[in-house]
């Protein structure tokens, strides 16, 4: 086995700041490393610190290549895909790559983090340029050593080759000299043409896999600091409520409990292990001021949303004269669609380790947005941002939840109250489901007018959906995206929007507004097709054929329909449904094959066609398509958040039970390959699966699904 650790560095797990050495294939060939070294530990144990060529590339005297991943790895594969972008131009040896998550720095952008399916889109130029800059510096260093012109040197597999003599200098031997050279301007270097790619567009295995099959990958929850206490926080069960008074006598007497502190949104028990803290919490007696939302229920919110939907809202999309077109339409249809609040429920419950002193704050956390984590800690501790160090750990799932900093703020508040003692705050699963920042519920009323040929001439609607993205001209784009952004050929629109004051914390959830609006839009489109008995695929083709800008959209529809065998005979009792989405720079079409058995929907097969522009890692796209489909399918078939007496009724995975392996359909992914600008893939397939399944249910039963999750009563 080939060791990937730096010379002289022990590779066993270092407790304080986990030092991670990954394994490799058991066959003994490839060993890929993913480690996050403690800088002091590394400095103490290595002969030389790797030379920093720029913000993204460090090269060690041992020929190791350390690539900085300035995003978060929550499963979406950024460590591997960003490494591919860097390595494409750097011409380094893939087997020598190690990765680190760097601290917050302006070099990595004003809002450092992974969100909005932006990692590839914002790093596509940046990382290739950084790789190219480092390569040019290595070439310059070699040219100087040889006393030849740079044009006589080329980079190849971790070495610079003298093309006249075939002499070679390894990257490791050039690193120190290269690091002393000026960094060439990014725009002075021509990046490879697509025809020259040797990594981009191929299928590369993940760099973080080995550490994730033996328990060595370090997630936030795995951090342990010397003298650390473990915290569990009791929050008001009603959103917006606060502590009126509390008695901690019993809690403090419980085994292992060391301290009890009140923070802005609850009472924290600190103990010498996670379990003792959670047990100690049960010993708290807290009187809550439940605030004004203690009567909120799913029914009361539905009434509030439905009432608003009767009133004129802010205009979200207006074109032509929808009223006149509707009045003259040959066929009219109306429908109300609803989607529930949803919790993100990443497998790793939220957690954060914070250590606050008089003049510093260190945080170890799986966060999607390092910059926000830092700002949050700065506000609480009143320390300047440069005194706040964020150590990014692996995220046990994100899905938008870890873009928030509420859990980080809580940990910092607790640590601030016990200055000098590191604190790990761990949320229970119950905390996670009952104190999420949820995907908002939505209540949406649609109407359509069809011409004598059955094609839509007017599309109107009122969307009622809580806002969290800020209002512009009265409209929160996160509430209406997927409806107002559609590019089907419909001439007249009047789509309006209301942001209800529901009092439930809401935020980004994988694919955001598209997650519910694609269900509404693609289901209602199916209703339009069904109104005059048109084939759902042919109906969509007609609506996409006229405008050449829809060519890529139309193409994924055709690929999915073709690969799924749309219109061809299916096994008895099986039915197809189709849906499309165009979000975050990617085009996605899915055909779901379902049957109904004993009041339950069984999804057998999903054919997914995706055009995300230039593919970086095919294996990554495949994984993300499958992942998004599972995440969305859970919401179609199984999960939803309901409220009563101001409280979330779901408590754990027994009552918020996502898709399990025995419910997993066969998923086939077909990628359209081109060199268009890369689109986001992390959220591309989540919205589409829901209407694809709902439309297949209609094909199977004649029952139109207009609220989620699908219930047995909807099928009868």
């Amino acid at each position: 086995m080939i060791s990937v650790s730096p010379k002289g560095v022990t590779t066993k797990k270092v407790d304080r700041r986990t030092f991670l050495k990954a394994g490799g294939t058991a066959a003994g060939g490839l060993m890929l490393g993913f480690y996050l070294p403690e800088k002091s530990a590394l400095a103490a144990q290595t002969a030389a610190t790797p030379a920093k060529l720029n913000a993204f590339v460090r090269i060690g005297a041992d020929d190791s290549v350390t690539l900085m991943i300035h995003k978060s790895e929550m499963g979406q594969g950024t460590v591997t895909s960003l490494s591919m972008l860097l390595a494409e131009e750097l011409e380094c040896d893939w087997k020598r790559i190690r990765n680190e998550f760097p601290p917050v720095s302006p070099e990595y952008g004003a809002m450092m983090g992974a969100y909005g399916s932006l990692s590839i889109r914002t790093s596509w130029q940046q990382c290739r340029q950084a790789g190219a800059q480092a390569r040019e510096m290595l070439i310059s260093a070699a040219a100087q050593k040889w006393g030849v012109d740079k044009s006589k040197c080329k980079a190849e597999n971790n070495s610079i080759v003298n093309t006249a003599t075939n002499a070679k200098l390894s990257y490791g031997s050039l690193a120190d000299a290269a690091a002393k050279l000026p960094v060439p301007a990014a725009n002075s270097i021509k990046l490879k043409d697509a025809s020259q790619y040797r990594l981009i567009g191929t299928s590369m295995k993940r760099l973080d896999t080995a550490s994730k099959v033996n328990g060595k990958a370090t997630f936030g929850l795995d951090i342990k600091r010397p003298g650390m206490l473990y915290a569990s926080l009791e929050r008001c069960p009603v959103f917006g409520g606060k502590v009126a008074s509390f008695d901690a006598t019993q809690a403090k007497a419980m085994p292992g409990v060391k301290n009890v502190v009140q923070i802005s949104n609850g009472v924290a028990v600190l103990a010498d292990n996670t379990w003792a803290a959670a047990q100690g919490r049960k010993g708290l007696t807290i009187k809550w001021d439940e605030g004004s939302r203690a009567n909120t229920s799913t029914a009361s919110l539905k009434q509030m949303f439905a009432d608003l939907a009767q009133k004129p809202g802010a205009s979200a999309r207006k074109s032509g004269d929808a009223a006149a077109a509707m009045a003259g339409a040959a066929h009219k249809l109306e429908a109300v669609y609803e989607a529930p609040y949803l919790s993100h429920a990443p497998m790793e419950p939220l957690n954060c380790v914070a250590h606050v002193t008089d003049d510093s704050c260190e945080i170890w956390v799986g966060t999607q947005i390092q910059s926000v984590a830092q700002q949050t800690a700065a506000q609480i501790t009143k320390l300047p941002a440069n005194k706040i160090t964020i150590h990014t750990e692996f995220l046990g799932g994100g899905f938008g939840r870890r873009g928030g900093a509420d859990f980080i703020g809580e940990a910092v508040e607790i640590a601030n109250a016990v200055k000098g003692t590191p604190v790990k705050l761990t949320w229970t699963r119950e905390d996670d489901l009952q104190h999420d920042t949820y995907r908002p519920a939505s209540y949406t009323k649609f109407a359509a007018g069809l011409d004598t040929d059955g094609m839509p001439v007017a599309f109107t609607g009122t969307v009622v959906c809580p806002s969290f993205g800020g209002l512009r001209n009265g409209v929160d784009s996160t509430g209406v995206e997927g409806i107002v952004t559609h590019t089907y050929d419909i001439p007249n629109h009047d789509i309006q929007y209301h942001p209800p004051d529901a009092g439930i914390p809401v935020s980004y959830w994988r694919s955001v507004g598209f997650s519910q609006n694609c269900f509404f839009m693609e289901s209602f489109l199916d209703e339009m097709a069904a109104a005059t008995k048109k084939d759902p695929v042919e109906f969509r083709r007609r609506l996409l054929s006229k405008d050449p800008k829809n060519a890529r959209y139309l193409n994924v529809l055709n690929v999915a329909a073709d690969k799924a065998g749309w219109g061809k005979p299916l096994p008895a009792g099986h039915f197809h449904g189709v849906a499309l989405v165009n979000n975050l720079g990617s085009f996605n079409a899915q055909v779901a094959e379902v049957s109904i058995d004993k009041g339950k929907v069984k999804v057998h097969r999903v054919v997914c066609a995706v055009d995300c522009g230039q593919i970086v890692n095919k294996a990554g796209v495949q994984q993300q398509m499958e992942s998004g489909i599972v995440y969305g399918l859970s919401t179609a078939l199984k999960i939803g958040i309901t409220l009563d007496k101001g409280r979330v009724q779901q408590t754990n995975f027994n009552t918020y039970d996502p898709l399990r392996i025995d419910e997993m359909p066969v998923v086939e992914v077909h990628m359209v390959e081109n060199h268009e600008a890369p689109g986001g893939i992390g959220e591309a397939s989540t919205p589409t699966i829901v209407p694809a399944v709902a439309n297949a249910v209609f094909a199977a039963t004649g029952k139109r699904i207009r609220s989620l999750p699908i219930k047995a009563a909807d099928l009868a």
Partner: protein, 165 residues
């Protein structure tokens, strides 16, 4: 507090903790073995799966006092080098993990399945791994990897037999 002795990954282990403390937290907080994960605390997600006397068990609901005298295997003890168990090899070959958080539990459950059903069908896999949630949706890759692991395991058995001959 009380002292409990058990075998952990083949070695004698002794801990002085509350008798009701779940094995999960003894492993993670007392012993610093964080490969076993916390996901739900009520045996609904399988992230905390370990083997107790060879059987896959949810360590989050297993009090340490019931473990005394027994043999516990965690993800850290599945293979000496952390990569050579047939299931680990298969997981690497099929590139299963995404966020990776649930994978210790998936792997421990799959390893136990293969000792009972060396050549499992998809239905066997689904039944065995039904209790292991994955929010990244790696289920299709898991099914593929369990079949691959079964093949690796059979090859190891054939090789071992060859050596004996």
């Amino acid at each position: 507090m009380a002292v409990f002795k058990f075998t952990l990954n083949g070695k004698a282990q002794s801990v002085d903790v509350q008798p009701q403390m779940p094995l999960l937290w003894v492993l993670r907080d007392t012993l610093g073995m964080t490969g076993t994960k916390f996901g739900c605390g009520i045996a609904q997600c399988g992230a905390c799966t370990v083997h107790i006397n060879g059987s896959p068990t949810r360590s989050c609901v297993t009090q340490i006092q019931t473990v005394a005298g027994k043999s516990v295997t965690t993800i850290e003890g599945l293979s000496a080098d952390g990569v050579s168990h047939p299931v680990q090899r298969a997981w690497i070959e099929e590139d299963v993990p995404q966020c990776g958080y649930c994978q210790s539990g998936q792997i421990m459950t799959a390893a136990a399945l293969l000792t009972k059903a060396p050549n499992p069908s998809d239905a066997d896999i689904d039944e065995s791994l039904h209790g292991n949630l994955c929010r990244c949706g790696t289920y299709q890759a898991i099914r593929r990897a369990v079949h691959t692991a079964a093949r690796y395991r059979a090859e190891v058995a054939v090789a071992a037999k060859g050596e004996l001959v």
